[in-house]
């Protein structure tokens, strides 16, 4: 039977797009630009979009505001110590103010948050500790995400016994309470701040972070552009470094926030129980208060409220920022 040629009246209808000339011009313009410029523009665009999404949820902004406030405190301390404050009186560890006796002294014009039982200025202690808290958090977080990302990516990519081993290890790390382990470590060794950061970083790195990053890496591994890269002859390392890890970065960044929370909290607990060898921290401030017997004394509120509140606020702030980032990274959580 011969195929009947029938005029299709519908095929002549104009598609709704614009003419092709505009497209051609766009394309020429794009090709003229250097590649790095284009990439930068795309990155800026993505960052701006993500910022908009982040700020939609006011919670993230609150967290960010608190973090910036404390960052300001940390930066202000060395400035104050040199110019405005007399080191002999205001040094957070060895300062002493004979005029404000008896210690602990309530807040006054010279000591905005009063003095602690050893005669040191509370505000100065607070500000000085902030810097160490930040550093502790950042270092621990960096170690965690480095370990977590590399192990997660490797486990996802190579599978097999590498995968099983690290997942079993992660299982063990997750099951055991970190604080308990840290207490034991504090009892066996003398922990100071850098060592603590290292330990926390390693513990978190091999734990939940690895599991979550691995599952994310798995979803990236099966995407078509990875297959395309492999077909095009990309080596294992090329694929891991160029494709998988960059796509893991948002999730990585997110977990950095949670690690900072955990690190600050853990340090505070250990200092409070006197298990850390550290010059000054918020936990240590509360510990000092307790050893001197002022812990349940609500008259001397300035001894426990500032450090306790700061711990909570800063931990909560990082956590809130992490949650807000979660909505940026994980589109399913967004409201329509």
């Amino acid at each position: 039977m011969a195929t009947e040629e029938r005029h299709n009246p519908f095929a002549t209808a104009q598609p709704a797009g614009d003419g092709t000339t505009l497209d051609q011009q766009e394309r020429e313009r794009l090709r003229a630009q250097p590649l790095w410029r284009v990439r930068l523009k795309l990155l800026a665009g993505t960052l701006w979009n993500n910022w908009k999404l982040f700020t939609e949820n006011k919670i993230g902004l609150i967290g960010l505001a608190i973090i910036l406030f404390y960052a300001g405190l940390a930066l202000a301390h060395p400035l104050l110590m040199g110019r405005v404050w007399d080191p002999l009186i205001y040094d957070p560890v060895i300062g002493f103010d004979p005029l404000a006796a008896p210690h602990p002294a309530p807040p006054s014009a010279q000591h905005w948050l009063g003095t602690d039982p050893l005669g040191r200025d509370v505000l100065s202690q607070l500000m000085f500790s902030t810097a160490s808290e930040f550093i502790l958090g950042m270092v621990a977080a960096l170690i965690t995400v480095t370990i977590g990302t590399s192990i997660g990516a490797l486990a996802a990519y190579f599978g097999g016994w590498i995968d099983t081993f690290f997942m079993r290890l992660a299982d063990l790390v997750i099951t055991l309470p970190a604080i308990v382990l840290l207490i034991v470590l504090g009892g066996l060794f003398t922990l100071d701040l850098p060592l603590l950061a290292l330990v926390i970083g390693i513990l978190s790195g091999f734990g939940a972070t690895t599991v979550i990053i691995k599952s994310q890496a798995l979803t990236i591994k099966v995407r078509t552009y990875v297959e395309a890269a492999r077909v095009a002859g990309g080596s294992h390392w090329h694929i891991i470094l160029r494709h998988i890890i960059p796509n893991l970065l948002p999730l990585t960044f997110l977990y950095m926030m949670f690690t900072v929370t955990d690190a600050i909290f853990a340090e505070a607990i250990l200092s409070y129980f006197g298990l850390l060898n550290i010059r000054m921290s918020w936990g240590l401030m509360i510990h000092t208060t307790q050893s001197a017997g002022y812990l349940l004394n609500f008259q001397t509120w300035w001894l426990i409220v500032p450090p306790g509140l700061s711990i909570t606020l800063l931990c909560a702030a990082f956590y809130l920022v992490g949650r807000a980032l979660d909505e940026v990274v994980n589109p399913r959580l967004r409201k329509r």
Binding site: K58, I59, I62, R168, D171, L172, I174, T175, L176, P177, A178, I179, V180, L181, I183, V184, L185, G186, G187, L188, F189, A208, T261, F265, A268, I269, Y272, F273, G274, L275, I286, L295, L296, F298, I304, G308, I311, T312, C315, A316, Y319, L320, R323, R332, L333
Partner: protein
């Protein structure tokens, strides 16, 4: 299902031995050696020290020491505590473990239930303001500095309002004329709780098939009956007031621990519910004309529960840590408290004993959660 449990048990045993090996290496890594701590007497001569080291087997090759370590563990010998000399570590553990168990189990059950309940309701009724308050409030509770919070609770409820005792486990005054030891009463309480739970569970399972109208009466009636029986037995034994005293001391620590832990469950339940509510079977449930509460509880919450139970594994560690801190703050004489004191005074055997106990407990709890999850999700059971 049985195969699944057997598999998991095997995994746990393997993991535990890995853990033992790691903890042993930790001990070895400690600066100085054990004999130095064992007898910190500077007047000992070098020869005497070496003799002590030999008697402790410290001059043997490392692998031999390791096997002795494992061997001792399997025989139940965890060494002798420094601070409670000459009580063996195992003895202290057996005495204190039930107290920690009680604290932990009560607070975990309550915080899970409360967190789930509140999270479920919050997801069902959405609203910007409510969400902000819950998230911020929840996060604050979650990250509050535990010792500080505990002390606040003590100050408020024990000190100011005088509703609860300040700490510890019993009121000595009351117990001076007690016929039995506190631990006996305590262990009996634990046993009662266990028996009652099992009986209630069996009752619920047996009466599953009764129609919905009468099922509620049957369930609540059964619970009421059970509780009356329990109270009756305790009253008759004369140990009632002592048990009540312990319960009274238990309440504030449980309340504190619950308040700190429930926020995590609540936030997670809320998110999980929100995702579940988008599923097709929820639309079907609506189309079937089912009442709101049924859709929310029977259909949505039941499915939303699954990721929350999975995450229970993570929050277990958090709850355990919280438990240790709470015991410290309230001087609740459990395993957590002894861990803390041991770390401070460097009572190494006791500390390691507490660590091993914690590890076993954590692993078993993990197993329970896994079983619970398999029980809740038929796709795992009959997968």
């Amino acid at each position: 299902m049985a195969r699944y449990i057997a598999q998991r048990l095997l995994q746990i045993i393997l993991t535990f031995f890995l853990f033992l090996a790691l903890s042993y290496m930790l001990l070895e890594a400690m600066p100085g050696d054990f004999s130095q701590l064992f007898l910190q007497d500077p007047k000992l001569t070098l020869a005497q020290r070496e003799a002590i080291a030999a008697s402790l087997g410290l001059n043997r090759p490392p692998h031999e020491r390791f096997f002795r370590y494992i061997g001792s563990f399997l025989r139940g010998d965890l060494g002798v505590s420094f601070q409670y000399y000459p009580r063996p570590v195992v003895d202290v553990i057996l005495e204190r473990a039930p107290r920690t168990l009680m604290l932990f189990i009560s607070s975990t059950v309550v915080s899970f239930y409360v967190g789930f309940f509140v999270g479920k309701l919050l997801a069902w009724r959405r609203g910007r303001v409510l969400e902000y308050i819950t998230t911020v409030g929840g996060v604050t509770l979650y990250t509050v500095f535990t010792p500080w919070f505990g002390l606040l609770m003590i100050w408020l409820f024990a000190f100011t309002l005088d509703w609860f005792p300040i700490g510890k486990f019993i009121t000595p005054r009351l117990w001076r004329d007690a016929p039995v030891e506190a631990n006996v009463v305590f262990n009996r309480m634990l046993l009662t709780a266990l028996v009652v739970s099992i009986v209630l569970l069996t009752w619920f399972i047996l009466t599953r098939r009764i129609d919905t109208r009468r099922r509620r009466v049957v369930h609540w009636g059964g619970m009421g009956l059970g509780l009356t029986v329990v109270v009756g037995i305790w009253g008759a034994s004369g140990l009632g007031p002592y048990a009540l005293n312990i319960l009274h001391h238990l309440m504030l620590p449980v309340l504190t621990l619950t308040l700190i832990s429930f926020a995590g469950t609540m936030l997670l339940t809320r998110n999980s519910m929100l995702e579940t509510l988008r599923e097709d079977y929820i639309t079907t449930a609506r189309a079937k004309g089912l009442p709101e509460k049924v859709i929310r509880d029977k259909h949505a919450a039941r499915n939303a529960m699954l990721p929350v139970v999975t995450s229970l594994v993570f929050s277990l560690a958090f709850a355990l840590s919280g438990g240790v801190i709470t015991e410290g703050v309230f001087s609740w004489p459990g395993m957590g408290e002894v861990l803390l004191t041991s770390a401070v005074v460097q009572d190494i055997p006791m500390m390691m004993g507490a660590l091993i106990f914690t590890a076993i407990f954590a692993l078993l709890a993990h197993l329970v959660v896994d079983i619970l999850y398999a029980f809740l999700d038929p796709r795992i059971r009959y997968g």
